[in-house]
């Protein structure tokens, strides 16, 4: 009896989860496993001749690569600031918009709209604004900051990329937090206010802990997206000026499709995946442990 019951449960599990697992495996994991082979080859991605080189690519990566570690550093720096800036801005907007504002609905839509536009287009639009828009605006207003070289100087390019990223993504995370805020029962809020908790104290003592589930999701997603950042940089700066805004995924792309070193690029991407994996697992563990049941 127990045997057939557990077999039935197994069957159910497979019927429910099987299709998704299979689809995911075919579309992402199998190709990735296949590409592990190429990480041990010297291959330009075009030629019919593929030379097996063992672990040489990995040795080169750790001992003699002038772009991997700068790109890694950029990616970390970008991720750090982007995750913080996006989430802080999103929480602030969510707090504001969960109040009884007359224009709340319109505002929510406005903040969300940059999210609906493709990143390729976003990059294009901002390039347009940085190259032509700011000049016109400067001529019209005379405000000095508009004349700065937002994408052309190494210091500012980082901030520009960051600014555009936050502008683009904040609406989505705002929605996650609004969902979280609206699931906090009113009686808890009222009770807190009766107890005299207001403003910052109420936020840190009551709201934030109850927001932890939203926070976990938002952190996980913003972290994974920041570490993998590609499109926005690809269209906005292509890693420039020089390689000052080259993220790891762009470095991998350049190696594969510009330098024609597909085998080597795959080796890089495998190291990259390991790094991302470790970071996300640590982060999820950390936040899961802090979640409070509402």
């Amino acid at each position: 009896m127990v045997g057939s019951k557990s077999r039935k449960r197994l069957l159910e599990l497979l019927v429910f989860a099987g299709p998704a697992v299979l689809l995911i495996f075919i579309a992402a994991e199998l190709p990735f496993l296949m590409s592990i082979y190429y990480s041990m080859t010297k291959w330009n991605g075009i030629s019919k001749h593929i030379t097996f080189t063992g672990l040489r690519n990995f040795r080169e990566l750790f001992t003699d690569d002038s772009t991997f570690f700068p790109s890694l550093w950029f990616t970390f720096k970008y991720t750090f600031f982007n995750v913080i800036a996006t989430n802080v801005a999103a929480i602030l907007l969510a707090l504001g918009l969960s109040k009884a504002l007359k224009t709340a609905n319109v505002l929510r839509a406005v903040f969300f709209v940059p999210n609906i536009v493709s990143l390729v287009v976003i990059g294009f639009v901002w390039k347009f604004i940085f190259s032509l828009g700011t000049t016109s605006l400067y001529e019209a207003t005379g405000w000095g900051f508009l004349e700065w070289s937002w994408l052309g100087s190494i210091k500012l390019a980082f901030s520009s990329v960051l600014m555009v990223s936050v502008w683009q993504a904040v609406g989505f995370y705002m929605m996650i937090y609004i969902t979280g805020l609206s699931s906090i029962p009113d009686d808890i809020n009222e009770a807190a206010e009766l107890d005299g908790a207001r403003g910052f104290r109420k936020f840190f003592a009551i709201t934030l802990p109850l927001l932890m589930p939203s926070f976990t999701v938002a952190m996980f997603m913003s972290l994974a997206n920041s570490l993998k950042v590609f499109d926005i940089i690809y269209t906005l700066t292509f890693g420039g000026p020089g390689d000052s805004t080259r993220s790891l995924s762009l470095d991998i792309y350049t190696e594969a499709f510009v330098n024609n070193r597909y085998g080597y690029a795959t080796a890089k991407s495998i190291v990259f995946v390991l790094i991302v994996l470790i970071i996300t697992v640590v982060q999820v563990k950390f936040f899961k442990s802090k979640e409070v049941e509402a």
Partner: protein, 274 residues
């Protein structure tokens, strides 16, 4: 109470100002999409001298808009239907089954969220060729199912954990099969998260560029691919590019504005439940 009202008004004004800054880039795009090339290049912030839709007419024809709109819509809708169905089913059972196998499968499901697409792009193409998925819209859709499921599973998984188990228990006692339990009890409850999954995937699939580019062998079969034609390197046609941006972006924006109420409703439902 009056102090509270005053605070509210201040918050509202601040947010409105930020909102204006937020939409200004789009405003510039719309304004400039209505100008001829020379005007775009000479003065970006000025309003067009004459309101003409010449750029739009041209882009509409050059892009073969109605046909590509249909293609893009097909890919988006079918992909999302599959992602929602497969993703929610998998997530549900993975939450409700406590075993090493379900933990493993869950990991298999969400692991691709960490894989950068560029790292398996070429092998994916090789594989798609062998499976005869290349150069066809259904083939592209199939790959979207696989690539879209990880995030869907992740989001549904998180939500289902918060659904009390008692609901299903009573259903099972009433003699419902696990499949009926899922479709008639669990699935409707998941409306808010389903809405989120749908929105996220509309944003992604409608706007995706690289995958259709390589899967469809460069054929101009989706709106994004066609629009990208106007962004060339030696070709300077900002006015067309901007009109193309507006035309490709408008449908998902409209969709979102319509859906927004649903999300709100879903969220209210979620709040009541909480």
């Amino acid at each position: 109470m009056t102090r509270k009202r005053r605070n509210l008004i201040i918050v509202e004004i601040v947010l409105l100002v930020i909102a204006c800054l937020f939409v200004y880039p789009f405003l510039l795009v719309v304004i400039n999409s209505l100008k001829p090339y020379a005007e775009v290049m000479t003065d970006v912030i000025a309003l067009p001298k004459a309101w003409e839709f010449e750029n739009y007419k041209q882009v509409w024809q050059l892009m073969d808009y109605p046909k590509l709109f249909g293609n893009t819509l097909f890919v988006t809708v079918v992909s999302i239907a599959g992602i929602v169905l497969f993703g929610s089913m998998a997530a549900y059972k993975l939450v409700r089954t406590k075993s090493w196998l379900s933990t493993l499968l869950f990991f298999v499901c969400i692991a691709p969220m960490m894989l950068p697409f560029q790292s398996f792009m070429i092998t994916l193409i090789k594989l798609s060729k062998n499976l005869h998925l290349m150069n066809s819209l259904p083939g592209l859709t199939f790959i979207y199912w696989g690539l879209g499921c990880p995030l869907a599973v992740f989001l549904f998984h998180g939500f289902i954990k918060s659904i009390p188990f008692e609901l299903e228990e009573s259903a099972t006692i009433d003699g419902c099969s696990p499949y009926r339990t899922f479709f008639s009890i669990i699935f409707p409850i998941m409306k808010p998260v389903t809405a989120t999954v749908v929105i996220l995937n509309v944003m992604w699939i409608w706007n995706d560029f690289l995958l259709p580019l390589i899967m469809l062998n460069g054929n101009q079969a989706t709106l994004q691919l066609a629009a990208y034609q106007f962004f060339g390197q030696y070709k300077s046609e900002w006015q067309f590019a901007l009109a193309a941006v507006v035309l490709t972006t408008l449908p998902p924006v409209i969709f979102f504005l319509i859906m927004q109420k649903n999300i709100m409703k879903g969220m209210v439902a979620g709040a009541v439940k909480g």
